[in-house]
């Protein structure tokens, strides 16, 4: 029997004004019926473009070059007429995307979206569409599908929406499904459920699956074989176990070494990006924290509550009094949270989205005032009324693209705070900023460029330098590595560990990624529905969790069928 999919020398190039971008540059692979292949690579490696090439959805100026060949079930897809391609799309090959918020149309009912996908390939009566839609939702284990089909996407949670997208992709029992980072935007526990479900669905239907991801751990838990992409080429391919146990290409080895789950907690991670960025230079840096005496309760929060309440207008208040309208429902984001962080400690704060971990972080930083409770740093309150007090606490945010002003140069962004707060004069600013940029291994010669000229990792380092330049004693990191590639993530983690060591900083590290937290943090706090439910040293939490919820989170960490941490060669 022939292969289901046989890709030979696939080249997808983008012909732009600035020259040709070779996004996919001569890759070849085969896929058997029922096989699950993981396609792994960092951003810009061409893995998504490969997926879109297979389904024939390359937008101009990109095109599949002559001489490329994609044979699907004996038919050549390259150069096929658009009309015929459309007959294959959704019926024989379908696709699931990363962000379930973006893929479903927010203003069209689920049943209509499913109906359109059904009728794209076969005529169906309204009654039949309804029957099949309910069936499709039931297949992806959506509770009460008969009622849910008439709802709109915003009435579904992120995981449910991704299930709907998967249901649509599986409508016509395709022979190949391409999944492009389908669980990246989801919580760990939801990700684990969806991985399990997709695995059993494709096995049951005999569908082949190409799972595109930047996350080696997820891929290894679902795939039979794996292909590692870098700069448009497949650098290594083979059965998943072989590739992970005895990687032949140094790039694959590097990706594996950068995974926090593969090295001992607290050690610096092996990272090409760290070496590429150059050395961190800590000379000439100041900071109140250096040489400060130990203090077991340096940061202290006592009984912190945060309730968000929508303000009702005058008319609405009147209507509420008359019983015509319901009063706004208060949202309890954080309830009676108490914690301490010792000076020089890294405390991990974990929980799923909506657990209140970011709100607690903002309260500790003094950005959001708590409804009740008290936060002190070194004995002094962090807020003075509704205003932030001093510069002792700084914050680093998740998205380095959004947290830097695109219209200011790096120098302007970093210098603003220190000049305003008197850490340096305007005249000294240049030398002052350079020192902090060198500390995060960023070349000060580039400081007059704008943020868009830098990569995600560089920007996150700039954001860290900006926080450091305020000479803080505490830094609140809100998911600082969540949007970064593995090797860049390793670099930022290394940086944070080095900074803590040299500057005696105290860190609160908020994350949903438990393997990173395990690697970096001394102590861990687990939050759920705004409450702190478990607290302990990293070894305790990860070794012997007490709460069922913590155990569930730990079990949800994707793992391959074998123990990746015991793989030799580290």
């Amino acid at each position: 029997m022939t292969h289901l999919l046989n890709v030979r020398d696939l080249r997808t190039w983008f012909h732009t004004d600035r020259g040709i971008v070779r996004s996919v540059d001569g890759i070849s692979f085969t896929l058997e019926r029922g096989e699950v292949m993981g396609l792994v690579g960092e951003s810009g490696s061409g893995k998504s473009i490969t997926g879109f090439s297979l389904i024939g959805l390359i937008d101009r100026p990109g095109r599949i070059e002559d001489g490329s060949s994609i044979r699907f079930d004996g038919r050549e897809l390259v150069g096929m007429e658009e009309r015929q391609l459309r007959r294959i799309r959704g019926k024989d090959i379908s696709m699931v995307f990363q962000d379930p918020m973006m893929t479903l149309n927010p203003v069209v009912k689920i049943i209509d979206q499913i109906g359109m996908a059904i009728r794209a390939h076969e005529p169906a009566s309204d009654a039949e569409v309804r029957r099949r839609a309910v069936e499709a939702l039931a297949r992806v284990r959506i509770v009460d599908p008969a009622h849910k089909v008439d709802q709109y996407p915003h009435e579904f949670s992120g995981g449910m929406r991704q299930r709907v997208a998967i249901a649509i992709a599986l409508l016509h029992r395709p022979r190949l499904v391409i999944a492009d980072e389908p669980t990246t935007a989801l919580d760990v526990s939801v990700q684990a459920e969806i991985l399990k479900e997709v695995k059993s669905l494709v096995a049951e239907m005999g569908t082949s699956l190409i799972w595109i991801s930047h996350d080696l751990a997820t891929v290894s838990s679902i795939a039979d074989s794996i292909a590692v992409m870098r700069r448009g080429k497949i650098v290594e391919a083979g059965p998943v176990r072989r590739v992970l146990e005895t990687p032949e290409h140094p790039y694959t080895q590097g990706l594996l070494d950068a995974l926090p789950s593969r090295s001992r907690p607290g050690e610096l991670l092996a990272s090409n990006a760290t070496e590429a960025a150059g050395k961190m230079d800590f000379s000439g840096l100041g900071g109140a924290a250096i040489g400060a005496p130990p203090d077991p309760a340096f940061v202290e929060a006592r009984g912190v509550d945060k309730i968000f309440l929508a303000q009702a207008g005058a008319l609405r208040r009147f209507a509420i009094r008359c019983g015509l309208a319901r009063p706004p429902v208060p949202v309890r984001a954080v309830s009676s949270a108490s914690l301490t962080i010792a000076r020089g400690e890294i405390l991990g704060l974990v929980g799923e989205s909506g657990s209140g971990k970011s709100t607690l972080g903002r309260i500790l930083c003094g950005i959001t005032p708590p409804t009740d409770g008290r936060v002190t740093v070194g004995g002094a309150p962090v807020m003075d009324g509704n205003r932030k007090h001093g510069t002792k606490v700084q914050m680093i945010f998740q998205d380095p693209f959004a947290s830097l002003d695109p219209r200011r140069t790096i120098f302007q962004s970093v210098a603003e705070g220190p000049v305003v707060h008197g850490f340096c004069t305007r005249g000294e600013a240049r030398a002052y900023v350079d020192r902090w940029l060198r500390a995060v291994a960023f070349d000060p010669a580039l400081a007059d460029r704008y943020p868009h000229q830098f990569s995600g990792g560089q920007r996150q380092r700039i954001a860290i330098a900006r926080a450091l330049a305020m000479q803080p004693e505490v830094i609140i990191c809100d998911e600082p590595v969540a949007s970064l590639d593995v090797s860049i993530q390793a670099q930022v983690i290394n940086l944070l560990m080095e900074l803590r060591r040299h500057l005696n900083l105290t860190l609160l590290f908020i994350s949903h990624d438990l393997s990173v937290v395990h690697h970096l943090c001394d102590r861990v706090i687990v939050m759920r529905h705004g409450e702190i439910i478990e607290e302990g040293s990293a070894a305790q939490i990860f070794g012997a969790p007490k709460e069922a919820y913590t155990r569930m989170l730990l079990e949800a960490i994707p793992r391959p069928g074998f123990d990746i941490a015991r793989v030799p060669g580290i």
């Binding site: 959805l57 794209a120 009435e155 409508l171």
Partner: protein, 323 residues
């Protein structure tokens, strides 16, 4: 939902009240109608009588209260010039304007939106470039000039369409309308086209930019990956996604066209509200001006309310968010 409508109606009342004060004070500042109404050689006695008759001797706040009191009983006052009820006067002229603007705005949407969607769907095609270039012209060339050109070409040179007037009308619900007769349509077509060009360009550009944006989203990619045809994607996905800004502009344009169609109405001697307000301003006919401006604000308030209600119909997220 009900509380939302009640709240909006409450706000509308406040807006109208404030508007009535502004209008009343503003009109008072423009000039004294007595100078226009009474011939210069009238005796002092006649002058005094006329001033008292129209209530112009009272202080402004007193006049305003009188006005409000009459308004509440549905009486908009009597025109100084025509010596008839302002309500009747406006009711006579309103259908003509209503007819003209509705046809113009509907025409603008029916032509502009599909052209815009096409231009946004294939932005690199020659047709799209032509559409976008012409739409810039539609924006920038003054309405009066286009109106004059239309008359020059179709009425004077070719002589196939009349240059002005309403033509033959037929009565519907006791109100005369032009669009019910062929002659009426011949009279309608030029002014309606003239009035709609600007709006058409606006709708077209708005639809084009919206479509371009939507076509790049994952929603469309996902729909294409499911094998859904391009026609279905445009009709069922794109049109729904771009409809909210379109409805906003449709509402605003409908309001402003109703209120300020006067340039076109003047050029094509269309016997609508525009002509009435121009005449009443020159003759300082205060009751007509006040009533007209109040009517315009009321129209805007009503149209905006309709637009807000349309949002709720179009965007399910609003419907459920407001529970």
């Amino acid at each position: 939902m009900a509380s939302f409508i009640i709240r909006r109606l409450g706000q509308a009342l406040v807006v109208l009240l404030v508007m009535s004060m502004l209008v009343f004070a503003g009109v008072f500042v423009i000039g004294n109608p007595v100078d226009v109404l009474i011939s210069p050689d009238a005796t002092q006695e006649i002058r005094r009588q006329v001033i008292a008759q129209y209530g112009l001797d009272l202080p402004l706040w007193d006049q305003y209260l009188h006005f409000l009191r009459r308004l509440l009983s549905g009486d908009l006052g009597t025109s100084f010039v025509f010596n008839m009820q302002v309500g009747t006067l406006i009711a006579q002229k309103l259908p003509a304007t209503l007819e003209l603007t509705l046809i113009a705005v509907l025409f603008a949407s029916a032509v502009g939106v599909p052209l815009g969607i096409y231009a946004g769907y294939r932005p690199d095609s020659i047709a799209a470039r032509v559409i976008m270039a012409v739409s810039v012209l539609g924006f920038s060339v003054p309405t009066f000039w286009i109106g004059l050109m239309l008359i020059m070409v179709f009425a004077v040179q070719l002589g196939i369409l009349p240059a002005g007037g309403r033509g033959e009308t037929r009565t519907l619900f006791g109100v005369p309308f032009s669009f019910l007769t062929a002659d009426g349509w011949a009279h309608l077509i030029l002014p309606a086209l003239n009035l709609s060009l600007f709006k058409m360009s606006m709708m077209c550009r708005l639809a084009a930019s919206g479509t371009r944006e939507v076509m790049l989203t994952d929603t469309i990619k996902f729909a294409r990956a499911a094998g859904i045809s391009e026609a279905t994607i445009l009709r069922r996905h794109v049109l729904k996604l771009i409809s909210i800004p379109l409805v906003t502009v449709f509402g605003l344009e409908l309001g402003s066209t109703l209120a300020f169609a006067l340039v076109t109405e003047t050029i094509f001697s269309w016997p609508g509200l525009g002509k009435l307000i121009v005449d009443s301003i020159t003759s300082l006919d205060r009751p007509v001006m006040v009533a007209y401006l109040m009517l315009v604000s009321a129209l805007f308030v009503v149209i905006n309310l309709c637009v807000d209600l349309a949002y709720v119909v179009l965007d399910p997220r609003l419907r459920h968010g407001r529970r």
